[in-house]
């Protein structure tokens, strides 16, 4: 299997950083949904979001958690793209989302899709 991360140490370091990111983001994931939306929903409901009719806990359960999830994923995408950049050696650096995305290795492709998605 061809890899960009030649030596074992670089791979291990890459994996540790990835695990740290995943761990931290999953804590936030748990806090906005299971924490604010379920476990602490009653005390938070005594607080009202100023200028709206939302009790805070209820808002987290029906709105806030979902916004949080979307943000979390895009933060992870950014962090990992930066991490990939840092550890990349000897690979042509493709610009994000360039073209139909040429595969990074030499495997033949069966041809690009004839209908491109909106871009």
């Amino acid at each position: 299997m061809p890899t960009a991360h030649g030596n074992h140490d670089a791979r291990a370091a890459y994996w540790r950083r990835n695990l740290r990111y995943v761990g931290a983001l999953l804590l936030v994931w748990f806090a906005v949904s299971f924490g604010a939306g379920i476990l602490f929903v009653e005390p938070l409901n005594r607080i009202r979001i100023p200028g709206t009719g939302f009790p805070l806990g209820f808002w987290f359960a029906q709105q806030g958690a979902i916004y949080g999830f979307v943000i979390l994923i895009f933060v992870y995408v950014r962090l990992m793209n930066r991490l990939d950049q840092e550890f990349r050696d000897g690979l042509p650096g493709p610009t994000p989302g360039a073209g139909a995305g040429a595969p990074a290795n030499g495997e033949p492709r069966d041809g690009p899709p004839d209908a491109g998605g909106p871009r």
Partner: protein, 573 residues
């Protein structure tokens, strides 16, 4: 034009669009058929995933369920979106790097075992079929209500459309059709929501109108709704009545189940690179969130509207929509006290003398989204649009699920397990034949659903959570997990979960109440516990059985680094 004419026109136009897209994007190879040639852009894949994921349940049923359950309905909102975080952080990039065609492919190769592959195929087919029958049923209901054709004719029309583009186009046809279907369904969902929000809260953004001021009463909408609920003897809208532990476990089961559903996972094999797989999950959730943050607003608007339109009103004066839905049996009114007025009250309702009042009105939550535009007296074309959107949601999900079934049969069973020497052409024919057979079987289940289908659909999540999720996760994050552990874990998890569900739903339904549940966890939430059982069994069994062969360790190492992800391909096992 009246509602029916508008519905005909809009549904026909949307179907013509799907067929056109399908013809433009036919599949030429098995790679096209299984993973759309592996060249779908992350944005398009995100849209397709959103349409694939959002089924008739999300479009038609969810807002109604929330309207009737208030805070307790949050389990669906958090549960069906939070799973995407798990998918993005824990599964999608690694499965993309692994580069197989199907979920059983990964399980079979990572655990170097035909037994593990076949266990995974059985789980995938079972989960997908229970799910797809519900979609076909949704198609039938929309047709019968809005176009006044019998349910079985509606199901057959739906089958015909899905047959056409799933069999012809495979994953490639499905992907680009789903992009079109997402556009139709989100437009159809947002238009009435915006109308309602302007009408009730005076703002065009439903997410804000939800927390805004009710124009009729001058108080905050949610306060007004809580007030109405108290008056009529329902539990407060913003508090709900389920126990905390049950809400916790149901949410967890739905989240983990979402991340383990095979038709969602395979969508991430269709993008070119690992980084695209990550971004694609983000886009998918963004597109899903657009509907999922609107749904609770629609629920609150619908609930307020419904109470104000019917509660306490004389039966003679009910609006036309009430009578139409009554004729489908989805609204029932029984005048227990014989005063001709509709008593729509909750379990805690009492009259002035303190005697309990009986509820006289039963409404199926499924009709709320479909009836909403009529309740709010929106223009006829909006009603037609909602019908077209509901069909888009049901058809897109059905197609994605059928592809899982057909690839499980033609690829995992035929090619990988029984006839490895089959030619590319032969495999493509097998894939098309099994997709066709799956459509017909699903249609049959939709026309004549065995009594348990509707019940089982809700449990597909628990079963996915208890079977696939731990096996895939341990396969990526530990090198040591071996074939014995994974198979034992999957079998233990799915058996435990299925047994608990079968006991409370079929063997002893009378005992299906909170005091009999284990730890107070309902059958809906038991999948989360089943997942823990799976983890525990897998880890203990693996500790006492031989480590996997060294090449598996290399495979795990290579999955963990993103570089060098080729197009999805055969792993030479």
């Amino acid at each position: 034009m009246n509602v029916q004419a508008w519905t005909f026109v809009l549904v026909a136009l949307s179907f013509a669009l799907y067929i056109g897209v399908a013809i433009l994007t036919r599949a030429g190879s098995t790679r096209d058929f299984y993973v759309a040639g592996g060249g779908v852009s992350p944005l398009a894949n995100g849209m397709a995933t959103a349409a694939d994921w959002m089924s008739a349940a999300s479009f038609i049923s969810m807002a109604g369920l929330i309207a009737f359950r208030g805070y307790d309905g949050s389990v669906y909102l958090m549960g069906w979106t939070g799973g995407y975080v798990l998918l993005a952080l824990l599964l999608a990039p690694y499965l993309r790097k692994f580069g197989a065609y199907t979920v059983p492919d990964f399980v079979g190769d990572r655990y170097y075992s035909q037994l593990a592959r076949i266990v995974a195929v059985v789980c995938a087919v079972f989960i997908s079929f229970t799910y797809v029958a519900g979609q076909m049923r949704g198609v039938g209901i929309v047709f019968s209500r809005f176009l006044e054709v019998p349910v079985h004719v509606g199901v057959m029309i739906g089958m015909g459309i899905v047959f056409f583009y799933a069999v012809l186009g495979g994953m490639k046809g499905i992907t680009y059709t789903q992009v079109a279907q997402y556009c139709v369904l989100i437009f159809a969902y947002l238009v009435p929501a915006i109308f309602l929000s302007m009408l009730i809260a005076g703002t065009a953004i439903p997410q804000l109108g939800f927390g805004g001021v009710d124009q009729a009463s001058g108080t905050y909408l949610l306060d007004r709704l809580n007030g109405l609920h108290e008056e009529l003897g329902f539990a407060a809208y913003t508090s709900g009545s389920k126990s905390t532990i049950d809400v916790f476990f149901i949410t967890a089961a739905l989240m983990v189940g979402t991340a383990g559903l095979p038709h969602v996972i395979i969508r991430f094999y269709t993008v070119p690179r690992v980084r695209d797989a990550r971004a694609s999950v983000g886009w998918a959730l963004l597109f899903i969130a657009l509907l999922y943050t609107t749904a609770p607003a629609v629920a609150a608007f619908a609930r307020t509207n419904l109470i104000e339109t019917v509660a306490g009103r004389p039966y003679e004066d009910v609006p036309a929509w009430f009578t139409t839905w009554e004729s489908t049996g989805l609204i029932e009114f029984e005048d227990h006290d014989g005063d001709g007025a509709i008593r729509f009250v909750g379990p805690a309702a009492v009259d002035d003398a303190g005697a309990p009042v009986r509820n006289e009105l039963t409404i199926d939550p499924d009709i709320m989204v479909l009836a909403n535009p009529e309740i709010a007296r929106l223009p006829a074309w909006v009603v037609g649009l909602v019908a077209a959107g509901g069909l888009a949601a049901a058809l897109s999900t059905a197609a994605g699920l059928l592809l899982v079934v057909s690839s499980a049969v033609s690829h995992d069973l035929l090619k990988r397990a029984f006839r490895p020497d089959i030619s590319e052409r032969g495999e493509l024919i097998a894939a098309r034949v099994s997709a066709g057979a799956a459509v017909i079987l699903a249609g049959y289940l939709g026309i004549d659903p065995p009594g348990f289908v509707a019940e089982v659909v809700a449990f597909a999540f628990g079963l996915a959570a208890a079977s696939f999720f731990p096996a895939i996760l341990l396969g990526i994050f530990t090198r040591r997990m071996n074939r014995e552990g994974a198979v034992a874990g999957m079998v233990a998890g799915i058996t435990f979960t299925a047994a608990y569900i079968v006991y409370f739903k079929f063997v002893n339904p009378a005992a299906n109440t909170a005091e009999h549940w284990w730890l107070g966890i309902s059958p809906e939430g038991i999948g989360a516990l089943g997942m823990l059982v799976n983890f525990a069994v897998a880890i203990s069994v693996a500790a006492f059985t031989p480590a996997p062969p060294p090449e598996i360790g290399d495979m795990v190492d290579s999955i963990r680094v993103p570089a060098g992800a080729g197009p999805a391909h055969e792993i030479s096992a």
